[in-house]
């Protein structure tokens, strides 16, 4: 009987070489596998009741799994610039049917179901159904009313319904004081840059997941830039009124005492002044304005 196998050094060398081969194979297979798995865009069961029954007593755990899958699904689609989010609703629908109190799922859904492709599914109607379910299942959670108001305001542009949602939510004793203020402001003014900025800032500050926060941050930066540009246009118009001509540079506006310093956008890129007093974003800035800004405003 021989107990000893090959020497330890040889064994370790063979294992190291083997692991190297395994690494090479895995790298080679990664793209093939992702292609095969990418086609797996389907859900076998879409009925919450059925999944709840099949899940025996583990519906809470199943909800967590579906929620994780929803976030991963969105992340994969978003990172691959795939605008088809057809499974986002069924995944969130199942998640919230399995666990009706899973707050982050509703809040995530209201943003990414309503946002237009390629950021979201472009289905504000489904977002409304989801958040209404959230409100019904969690009446104590006033932020769902804020989310509903936000959805009507931003995604559906129905300012009357938006105002009503903010007002309804403000009746909750725990609700923030701004709910009532927003109800009045939206009813009076409809859409405005200030309200939009405030709402996106709220979404950003109360978001629990990175995707929502990042998306909200993009909107906040864009809206701040739009507000800045509007203000800079007014300053340039003031310069024109005083000197009878447009400034040649921002430094000239600063020297005239109309600005304290060279203005920069939320990403730190200086605004640029073009011909005839046109103020715009720096070409190098990562901020993109949703709608082209009217450049020839006096």
């Amino acid at each position: 009987m021989r107990n000893r196998g090959p020497s330890l050094a040889l064994t370790l060398l063979a294992i190291a070489l083997g692991l190297g081969a395994v690494y090479r194979l895995q790298v080679r297979m990664d793209s093939e596998i992702s292609r095969v798995h990418q086609e797996r865009d389907e859900l076998l069961f879409r009925s919450g009741r059925l999944v709840k029954t099949l899940g025996l007593e583990y519906d809470g755990l199943l909800a967590d799994i579906y929620w994780t899958r929803a976030v991963q699904y969105y992340g994969e689609k978003h990172s691959s610039f795939d605008p088809n989010f057809e499974l986002l609703w069924p995944l969130l629908d199942l998640t919230t049917q399995l666990d009706p109190h899973l707050i982050p799922a509703y809040r995530f859904g209201v943003i990414f179901l309503s946002e237009q492709p390629p950021i979201g599914a472009g289905r504000p109607d489904l977002a409304e159904a989801l958040i209404r379910r959230g409100v019904a299942n969690n009446p104590e959670y006033w932020r769902f009313w804020a989310d509903l108001g936000f959805l009507y305001y931003w995604g559906m542009k129905d300012y009357q319904k938006s105002s009503q949602a903010f007002l309804e939510g403000s009746k909750n004793p725990d609700a923030a004081i701004w709910m009532k203020v927003l109800a009045a402001k939206v009813a009076e003014e409809g859409r405005s840059l200030e309200v939009s900025l405030f709402l996106w800032q709220q979404v950003h500050d109360s978001a629990k997941d990175a995707a929502t926060r990042l998306n909200a941050e993009g909107h906040v930066h864009r809206l701040k830039a739009e507000l800045d540009l509007r203000q800079l246009d007014e300053i340039v118009a003031e310069f024109h009124k005083r000197f009878g001509r447009y400034p040649n540079s921002m430094e000239e506006v600063v020297r005239a005492g109309l600005l304290r310093g060279k203005p920069v956008d939320p990403k730190g890129f200086p605004y640029v002044l073009g011909p005839e007093g046109r103020v715009g974003l720096n070409p190098g800035s990562p901020i993109h304005l949703e709608e082209p800004k009217p450049m020839n405003q006096p």
Partner: protein, 259 residues
């Protein structure tokens, strides 16, 4: 494999059959019969899909349970019953004994899986009334399950060389679960933003066996072809990884003091 290892393999297979391991087939047969009869009544338009998903999942789960629970006892049981000493007193090397045990369990899994595949085919025929060329993907999916089981068996055998069955089960199942998330571990590493954590996560994700490679159930259910290159790469991956684990097992077992 040497002749002596072959003798061990055949005996391991016989022992598994004597232990009524193949009774699992009865469970599978009942499941498939029930599914084939009931599926038409509870699912609309996805009868074939449910049969394939259910069949492949059952083949995988039953195989996994066999590989883990029998695998961890392969060496331990021999030591516990003291039959190992009688075997090793014969002119057989320890690595040959291990290889034989591995091959024996693999043979058991192969027979079991082949019979379950026949059951799945029968259920499918009952529901669809005929086979299509695309159904060959189901065989590829079964083959991938077998590759996965070979890896699991190697891991279970490795752990059984130096720990108790309970711990071996925990280690094997733990690596299996971690291996299912190998690609996600890599992504999580990127998300952390820490270069050190990212490097550790990437290294770990490549070090553990990536069991996600073997999951093509959805492709099989929809009859989507699997690239031949992937089949070849997966075969190589499973073979090389199982060889590494068996080598480590042989090294550990050869140095173990059995007195």
């Amino acid at each position: 494999m040497t002749r002596l290892a072959g003798v061990v393999a055949v005996n391991t297979f016989r022992e598994a059959v004597r232990d009524r391991v193949l009774y699992s087939l009865l469970f599978f047969a009942l499941l498939m019969i029930a599914a084939a009869i009931l599926v038409g009544q509870i699912s609309i338009g996805i009868e074939t899909l449910v049969i394939i998903n259910l069949g492949l999942s059952a083949i995988s789960i039953i195989g996994l349970m066999m590989a883990v629970f029998i695998g961890v006892g392969l060496v331990y049981k021999e030591m516990d019953k003291r039959t190992l000493y009688a075997v090793l007193s014969k002119p057989i090397r320890r690595w040959e004994f291990l290889t034989g045990k591995f091959a024996g369990l693999l043979l058991t899994l192969l027979v079991n899986t082949a019979l379950m595949t026949l059951g799945l085919a029968a259920a499918l025929l009952y529901v669809k009334h005929s086979f299509a060329a695309a159904d060959v993907t189901i065989l590829v999916a079964v083959y991938f399950i077998l590759l996965k089981l070979a890896l699991i068996t190697a891991l279970a055998l490795f752990f059984s060389c130096f720990s108790s069955p309970l711990l071996s089960i925990l280690f094997t199942v733990g690596i299996y679960v971690a291996g299912l998330f190998a690609s996600d571990i890599r992504t999580f590493g990127h998300i952390t933003g820490s270069r050190a954590l990212d490097a550790i996560a990437v290294a770990f994700s490549y070090l553990i066996p990536n069991f996600n490679n073997f999951n093509i159930t959805a492709s099989a259910a929809y009859g989507r072809a699997v690239p031949a290159k992937l089949i070849l790469d997966n075969t190589l991956y499973a073979a090389v990884y199982a060889a590494i684990v068996l080598l480590a097992a042989a090294a550990a077992f050869s140095r173990r003091n059995l007195k």
